[in-house]
């Protein structure tokens, strides 16, 4: 047991240390890290309130018709599915791709100790979500159940909630790692899971939109009508079903039955843990052996193929190509810096498509057809909205805000290459633009399709948006030149735990908000809006370009 705790502490410390390690002015500051995480947690508060608002109403409605257990089970099942998805993303890093594995395997420690310590660490993070969800449920269930029994039920529910989904995800991962060679590459795995999660998030978003538009009767009919998905989830997450029945029994003032159901739920979770250990012992260590060798080795090249593959090009285009290759081949950078730019337009397009299937008398359609872009005031507002959109989209493109940080220890290569620093910086900015501009183009395509604006207005909108995107692109680069995060072991530290990214996103949102409010009050005609916004965006672009041209080399020289 002592070895388990020692290992658990070390694994946890490494991960928590990485999470809170934020560099300010070259020095690592855990205080700033904790503050930022605190802000993040606080920002989740409105979401928790929203969840509370939705489920409390439903609990009341369902309790009245004697079906509270269905709704409780559904809430827990949704939590379990989320934990399952999160665990699919996080568990491989803890079990397989962390660098500690090769040091731990030779230690004189029982395999079960290693497995259980790693599982416990993964579980800790899922408990954060479980406690949040069950906490909200606890408050929502107060009016329906006696507090004493409810507290007992909810504590045990929170403890058992993540176990089943965690067991499913880790067993799935272990079987994949053991038998499917294709996924044994960290990059490939991250791409597959990242894209799957994104698809899942979108499906979840639209499905939940549909569900919350159902009226109470339709929802009860859906839940009691044994739909395949709901039934499958109830069997899959049996402990949730039992916990829901325990709560239902508590509302019916049947304490013995309630406690029995709750303990049964715990027993199911413990049994699942037992099965997990049996499978893990049989597959984990066999799956981990040779993991390092299964990375992207290509087809063997012949001498003639190598000679034929030699292609010369200009230094600038070669540098841009190198940047894009590294960006698209790094799952962390791709997901966070590229996909995020494309995510917004795709969501916009997907949400726009159903509008065209609505009838003309639909309120949404009526509202859209009421927008008259030939009207001067509306056209001015449209230009302001486009500027705001361009700034927000540009801000979400963090390619350049991490362009120096992503170099990590390779940064010295930038220093010894015989290529001017400015050229290298412009090449990095160009790689960012090649990501942002197509994203922006997609947004515009969706908007033009939806509103069919007059051609002059469309051209004016593009003329304003492009300099805005260039401005933010270069500004991100300046942020990263001023405070690059070069000392990292895991690229996520450079991309996700980078203050520059937050500065960029929130800074762009702030500027966008300012432009939106000021524009709304002062820019009344399209001509005035165009002149001010186009002129302003050109000035900002020129300023950012000047910063890189005039100060870029100096900033580069300061970094070592």
């Amino acid at each position: 047991m002592r070895k388990f705790w020692a290992m658990f502490r070390i694994f946890l410390k490494v991960i928590v240390g990485q999470m809170f390690a934020i560099k300010i002015g070259g020095k690592e500051s855990k205080v700033v890290g904790i503050i930022l995480w605190g802000v993040l947690v606080l920002s989740i508060a409105p979401l928790l309130w929203l969840v509370y608002y939705m489920i409390s109403g439903m609990y009341t409605a369902f309790a009245e018709v004697g079906h509270l257990d269905l709704m409780v089970a559904m809430t827990l099942n949704i939590g379990s599915v989320l934990i399952f998805m999160l665990s699919l993303m996080a568990a491989p890093a803890i079990f397989y791709f962390s660098k500690d594995v090769e040091y731990i395997l030779p230690l004189p420690v029982k395999p079960t100790t290693i497995i259980s310590a790693k599982f416990a660490v993964a579980l800790v993070f899922e408990y954060v979500l479980a406690v949040g969800l069950v906490g909200v449920m606890y408050v929502a269930l107060w009016p329906h159940v006696g507090v004493g029994l409810l507290t007992f039920n909810m504590i045990l529910t929170a403890l058992t909630l993540p176990i089943l989904p965690m067991v499913y995800s880790t067993v799935l991962i272990m079987l994949l790692m053991r038998f499917v060679r294709f996924v044994r590459n960290p990059d490939r795995y991250a791409y597959i899971i990242g894209l799957l999660s994104l698809a899942f998030a979108m499906v979840f978003m639209f499905a939940s939109q549909d569900m919350f538009t159902l009226d109470e009767d339709a929802l009860i009919a859906m839940l009691t009508g044994e739909p395949i998905a709901a039934t499958a989830l109830n069997y899959l997450f049996l402990s949730n079903n039992l916990a829901a029945r325990a709560i239902d029994a508590a509302t019916g003032l049947l304490p013995v039955q309630s406690i029995a159901f709750q303990l049964l739920s715990v027993a199911v979770a413990l049994a699942a843990l037992g099965i997990f250990f049996v499978i893990a012992q049989a597959t984990y260590f066999k799956g981990i052996i040779g993991l390092g060798e299964s990375s992207s080795a290509g087809k063997k090249m012949t001498r003639d193929e190598a000679i034929a593959g030699v292609v010369g090009q200009g230094a600038f285009s070669s540098y841009v190509k190198k940047e894009l290759r590294l960006l698209f081949r790094s799952p962390i950078a791709f997901m966070n810096s590229v996909l995020m730019v494309l995510f917004m337009p795709v969501v916009l397009i997907i949400s726009v498509v159903p509008v065209f299937t609505l009838g003309n008398d639909d309120p949404m359609m009526e509202m859209l057809s009421a927008i008259d872009l030939t009207d001067a005031r509306t056209a001015a507002i449209a230009l302001i909205a486009v500027t705001v959109l361009a700034l927000v989209t540009g801000g979400s493109a963090t390619v350049t805000a991490t362009a120096i940080s992503r170099e990590g220890r390779n940064f010295i290569v930038m220093k010894y290459l015989p290529l001017r620093y400015q050229t290298q910086l412009h090449a990095k900015a160009m790689s960012g633009l090649l990501v942002v501009l197509p994203g922006l183009l997609l947004v515009f395509a969706a908007l033009f399709w939806l509103f069919s604006p007059p051609i002059l207005l469309a051209i004016a909108a593009i003329l304003i948006a492009v300099p805005c995107a260039i401005f933010l692109n270069y500004l991100g680069l300046v942020f990263d030149l001023l405070r690059p995060k070069l000392n990292w072991d895991n690229e996520a530290e450079a991309v996700k735990q980078n203050v520059n990214v937050l500065l960029m996103i929130f800074g762009a949102m702030g500027v966008a908000g300012g432009v939106g409010v000021a524009g709304f009050f002062w820019l009344h005609t399209p001509l005035m809006a165009f002149v001010v916004l186009f002129g302003g965006s050109l000035l900002l672009m020129a300023f950012a370009l000047w910063l890189v041209l005039a100060q870029g080399s100096r900033m580069m020289r300061k970094i070592y």
Binding site: T302, A306, G309, V310, V311, G312, K322, R325, P418
Partner: protein, 241 residues
Amino acid sequence: MLSISNVSKTYGNSQVKAVDTISLAVESKQILGFIGPNGAGKTTTMKMVTGVLEPDAGQITINGYDIMAAPIEAKQSFGYVPDSPDMFLRLKGLEYLNFMGDMYSVDETTRREKIAHMGDIFEMTGALNSRIQSYSHGMRQKIVIMGALLHNPGLWILDEPLTGLDPRSSFQLKEMMRAHAESGNAVLFSTHMLEVAEKLCDKIALINKGRIVFFGELEALKAQYNQLSLEDIFMEVTARA
């Protein structure tokens, strides 16, 4: 080919100089071995020579170009192999070599010849289609060496180039260094392998705690220390300092 004159460097607010007023030169037809214990200032010196770090004082010229005043011309004159070969891991070997060729403006004909030649010598041709990520430490070292030598630089600056190389590649690289020097060029390389330095170098620069404690021909050093081996001299000098 390389001249380092009264160069000093201090990191941040440290009171200790990482490199303290050092001077040395590498002439054509010479291999200079740069040796010293860990943290003595070898890598700092090499980083200043290559323009990665700026010296606080002193001057460094390569082929007559001051690294601070004419950095592009100076950088074009050398090929540098840093101490860690873990770079551009998500590029394929050939993509990396093409990139380096573009950076150093190497024409396609020369590039083809060099890649084919060095690919044979280091037995790397077969792996050029794979990402560097999948290479062993030694293979990464070899691809970095190939990239650094692609533009046929007059001066080679190699920081621990033999670390991780298999005996055959190590032998080949030493032969290449010798041939490079004999054809009128120069090599500056750091190493902890004293027997290699003893056999290969025309001159030795021994650095300890940021200061050059000996710079000259190996024979002169041995004469100074009663014909002791370089290893014994190293032990004595670093223990005394």
